[in-house]
């Protein structure tokens, strides 16, 4: 039995996962909530966002994200890897910065045109 708050959207549904009963999820207002609850109890993941160094642009930082959720436990490893990254302007939204980051299958991509 696990009670959690859904973070898929800002609605914040109170979810209940019944492990005794094939991980049946209740309290979700949409199918994504059920999916989140099962993933959260087995292998929690998050989309991670941060910035990397940028030269030659309007700002000295460029925002990035993982283009898919990554395991929570790998987030700090990924932050570590981002420290070594330096981009040269211009950069465009969706441009891949690190493919398959930390072996997660997700790419680090640029989230702003600079």
């Amino acid at each position: 039995m696990a009670d959690l708050v859904c973070i898929v959207c800002p609605k914040g549904c109170r979810l209940h996962v019944d492990e005794e009963n094939g991980d049946a999820v209740t309290g979700n207002a949409c199918p994504r909530g059920a999916e989140y609850a099962r993933a959260e109890t087995r292998r929690p993941t998050r989309v991670m966002t941060s910035t990397v160094r940028l030269t030659g642009g309007r700002y000295c930082r460029c925002p990035i994200k993982t283009d898919a959720p990554v395991p929570k436990g790998k987030i700090m490893d990924i932050m570590e890897q981002l420290n070594g990254v330096e981009l040269q302007a211009p950069v465009t939204i969706g441009q891949v910065v690190i493919p398959n980051v930390a072996d997660t299958g997700a790419n680090i991509v640029v989230t702003r045109n600079l």
Partner: protein, 424 residues
Amino acid sequence: MQDLIVIGGGPAGLAAAYAAYRKGLRDILIVERDRELGGILNQCIHNGFGLHRFKEELTGPEYADRFIRMLSDTNVHVMLDTMVLGITQGREVRVISAARGYETLSAKSIVLAMGCRERTRGAIAIPGDRPAGIFTAGTAQRYLNMEGYMVGRRVVILGSGDIGLIMARRMTLEGAKVLACVELMPYSGGLMRNIVQCLQDWDIPLYLSHTITNIVATEGRVSHVTVQKLGENNAPLAGSEIEFDCDTVLLSVGLIPENELTRDAGIRIDPRTNGAIVYENMETSAPGVFACGNVVHVHDLVDYVSAESERAGAAAAQYVLAGGPEGAADQPERATVELVNGDGIGYTVPQKIRVENVAKAADLFFRVRRLYGESVVEVTDGDAVIAAYRRSQMAPGEMEHILLTKAQLDRITGNTVTVTAKEA
């Protein structure tokens, strides 16, 4: 003479301008004081934007880019680096910029989309020293995400607004130790999902019904804060002191709609929202002047800002296409229903509805004043219940939205209706 001048190029202004263009206006100008469009979205690098509007999860800059791209396919004109100094009810707009100096512009309609700013330490009077190391959360967010400055290493956050929660996670990712998030109220001011993914994910304790009662400086920088539990009437309880050694305090203690222009123009303000009083189409007390987004009331979600602003932009277009002030003068006076806040309701937007102007349904946004479990929201006209909505829970930190259909509105006989929240 412009058809429409939009003041502010953040999410509200962008959506309003685009909607007005879609409705057929062609002389549209956005005036923006920053050197780029997008407003606060540019520093909100986290994800979670756009789930309603675009059915995907975007970051702030990506969400802004969607609207900027939509506008780039139009002839909407943008003045950057330009400050609006004043507006008049006759729809003159006085602006100043380094490039063009002082100018007086005029428009058939105006959309106010100036957004809001953060409450500062001065607004909440924290005792103690006045050293470096105290930032509003949004300022720290801009420093970190755009300018590339790490503002501190050991952080205490006062207030549990969404920006503070987002910054708790952000500072942690960048290697800072966030020692505590301290909230005066017995509940969080931010969204539940941010409590989970920004505090609980990183084991950051949330102290409800607590506040900072002293800030101590060493050599001009924050070195220590005292946190205390609050008793009756929010009086700090002796003996409840928790001491934190820290170099930084972030304040996430509320947002203030930025309405100097609105007030100076003599447009009526609602003391509950600190924003303009608006009708169902986001028109203010000045005909042809509309307002939308955080300058009207502080939203939790940019998606709702966009939706509200699209209504304001569309209404401005309709006003201009119907002949502007001359056209409006020919219209018969419309009966107005005023929304009265009953038990548990902090405010409503709009505050007034002209029923005849509503085509299908009127959007109604409100916040409750305390936590509610299973509850019902009622809209009543005297003893008659016009509409009722069930909720499994409500909190002041989460804006509520209901729709009043034309059929429901047509049943109103008086000139006020009361919105009430009560336990089911």
